[in-house]
Symmetry: C2
Subunit: 454 residues, 2 copies
């Protein structure tokens, strides 16, 4: 693609400028890049090259780039620790507060204290304020760099305030209106300011029905509000309606991505976010799950072992074990996915709890009946043994119903107990359903034992 | 919550106003709501109530609300068909073009032609232009309501253009600069306009390195650009760089949501987007998958049937069938999830193809070896039979490696053939892996048959 080619050329120019220590050429090309592309280039360098970059760029210029870099914690810590502490502190002070806080949260407390002591007192206190908000809340997402005004002024004077704030504010497209006690009383968009006359009073065009989120709200709920209302930013308040900060849509996109990846990871029983290509590392992350499930699977094996005599008398039973466990596992995975999704989008979890579980069990009965009838017909024809077909079909129906019950009940209970429902992963449900399916299968088979052996 | 209570109260006032046919009160309360809340109220009504609403609100007022309603196609079609055709056409004309197009795409061609013929010619031609873009491309996401200017003017005159366009444009926060041939030459943000003096020439402050997407680009790639660069809007161009429209961040959030839900649905083998609480409907959607997989499972069953004699001689073999198929299935699901994710975030799919598959096979060998050794030790102790333990462990290792191969290779091939890799669902991989696992297991068992039977 043309754009990629052009970018590669620029990256080559930059590398050349670094090698030739041509600071002027480097700055010219580098500062003309979009900050995301600056980050891509920076991340492609080795340490000795990065050290040159730190001498070529001001803390403010580096801060703009760091505002958009998305890297794992390990690398971020490395970048910070290789800078002169004073330079790093200045850069942190120049970053948007929310991003600086995210970066500092990857360090240990001693390091954080060091950087805070090295930066201007005002910046340090802004950062300190945000540092103590809990992870995954509105407070941890918000920035304090917003524009707020009082209602008792004209559009002209508000535009003047905005002009002065435009350099530091993370967004200037919403202006929040507060009373003298800093309580949020309204919002006005830059669009409103632009279409109204300069002499209009803010109080007259102010939107008083301002949506806001509380500082302790879960980030998923905040994301849901953005999705529903199509906002570009939302104000964050404390329980007394004081305006504390704003959350912007770019941070919300990251939240939506993270939540989606974590739901997806849960369903697969593997963390897809840390996609490492090193098979040893990958194995060490997947093995705990596999081995845990292996022991659960051993329970199933010892259950079958318990029925070994039955199997030796009727080895035909062994033929259908994997069919029944497999089909029930598939059904359970479907239920699990639906239940986790329902939890994510439901406003009234109490109500959806019972409805989902009952709905899934009924769905299990219906799908189980159809699947059971199908397998009954197949076995009756294939093995010329309708009673065996009945046993397999009956077991299939019960196993699917129980798998649907487990698939929906377990995530719902997890959620009720305050855990992330996505932790009830697909592999866990299928392995658990293996156990119940085998139990059901052999019990039904025992009952009819005398009828289908010929 | 207070906000919910307040909203409920307003909804009650509105219902009362409808019942009392108090148009003034209705309009006062309704138009004071956020458009998303208006939509919630509207969707809670029955048809006779909605008919009153259509007489109380202008097409423009209804259009604002319809711009944010997210409902399934069935309901949207119902809403449109119950309005007077002329009213519906006026409303469609007043909506943002991209949303009107989305709505029209749910109707059949005849209906679309009817509405287009009833609306003002200019609006109809704007909509027609967008109607023929393929689904899930930048073209299908874009709107034509943007602000574009030529470079040869001052900030003051640009602000004047903006002021006039603010009413209809979907965003005014980026202004796109074009040459006389309507080719995109740069971009300027409203923030830039505000911080610069009124007499500055646009040409002097213009950002010429404007990112854009092509009209045929896949919506996933467009979303990735938004994520990387934190844009609020992106211009869409044809292959000759002519500016055709813009994509805004609110549409991108919907895309990200849809893509996440579809990946998640794929992994679970169930469409979680259509979360219906009716068990019959739910069953009818899940059964095709379950029955298809049942037939694949029958292949596994007939394979075991082929080895029935072996099982009747050594019924102990039956004990470990579900353990081996289950564990291999879990490993295959992990591989699948990682491969699908890698495809989603990879820029160079050719390169990642071989690396992912080889990486997953190596990971399979390592996890398989560890899991195999574990089960060898357990069986050797539990059943006092090290040779049986060796058979199970060996089968486990091979089955896991093959499951990892299938889990990574199948989505990669799907992608290469132009299908959505997420279609290679988790249930499909586990059911397929049941088959290969059983094949591996009984073949290894046959080889060592004479050694472990005592």
């Amino acid at each position: 693609m043309d754009e990629n080619q052009e970018l590669n050329e620029r990256f080559e120019q930059l590398t050349q400028a670094l090698n030739e220590t041509d600071i002027q050429k480097f700055r010219e090309v580098f500062l003309d890049l979009h900050i995301y592309e600056q980050g891509q280039f920076y991340q492609s360098l080795d340490e000795s090259q990065r050290q040159i970059v730190y001498t070529y760029l001001s803390p403010k210029e580096l801060a703009d780039m760091f505002d958009v870099i998305e890297e794992d914690d390990e690398h971020m810590t490395e970048y910070l620790s290789e800078m002169r502490p004073g330079y790093a502190a200045d850069m942190l002070a120049e970053m948007y507060t929310d991003n600086a806080v995210d970066l500092l949260n990857t360090l240990d407390k001693k390091q954080v204290a060091k950087y805070l002591s090295l930066m201007p007192a005002e910046d340090a206190s802004e950062i300190k304020e945000l540092l103590h908000y809990e992870d995954e809340t509105a407070g941890s997402l918000m920035t304090t760099e917003f524009v707020s005004i009082v209602a008792n002024q004209t559009v002209r004077s508000a535009m003047y305030v905005l002009k002065n704030a435009a350099d530091v504010a993370e967004t200037i497209y919403y202006i929040y209106v507060v009373d003298t006690d800093n309580k949020l009383v309204g919002v006005i968009s830059l669009r409103d300011l632009i279409i109204n006359d300069d002499d209009t009073m803010i109080a007259d065009i102010l939107n008083e029905r301002v949506m806001s989120v509380h500082v302790g709200d879960d980030q998923e709920d905040v994301a849901q509000t953005f999705r529903d209302y199509d906002f570009l930013a939302l104000p964050v308040t404390d329980y007394d309606d004081h305006l504390l900060g704003i959350v912007t849509v770019d941070d919300i996109i990251d939240v939506i991505d993270d939540e989606a990846a974590s739901d997806y990871s849960g369903l697969a029983g593997v963390n897809v976010e840390e996609v490492s290509e090193n098979p040893l590392k990958a194995s060490s992350r997947r093995l705990p799950w596999l081995i845990t499930l292996l022991f659960l699977g051993m329970a199933t094996a010892s259950l079958i072992s318990h029925y070994e005599e039955l199997v030796s008398e009727a080895s035909i039973l062994a033929v259908f074990i994997s069919l029944i466990t497999g089909t029930a596992g598939n059904a359970g995975t479907q239920s699990l996915a639906v239940a986790v999704r329902r939890l994510a989008i439901s406003d009234d979890k109490e109500k959806s709890f019972m409805r989902t579980v009952i709905g899934e069990v009924l769905t299990g009965l219906v799908t189980g009946a159809v699947t059971g009838l199908t397998i009954f017909a197949i076995v009756a024809v294939w093995k010329q043994n309708p009673i065996l077909g009945f046993v397999i079909g009956m077991a299939m129906m019960c196993a699917i119903t129980v798998a649907n019950l487990a698939g929906s009940l377990i995530p719902m209970l997890m959620d009720k107990l305050g855990f992330d429902p996505a932790v009830a992963s697909g592999p866990f449900i299928t392995t658990l359903s293996d156990l119940t399916s085998v139990l059901i299968y052999f019990n039904i088979a025992s009952l009819f034992m005398n009828y289908f052996i010929r």
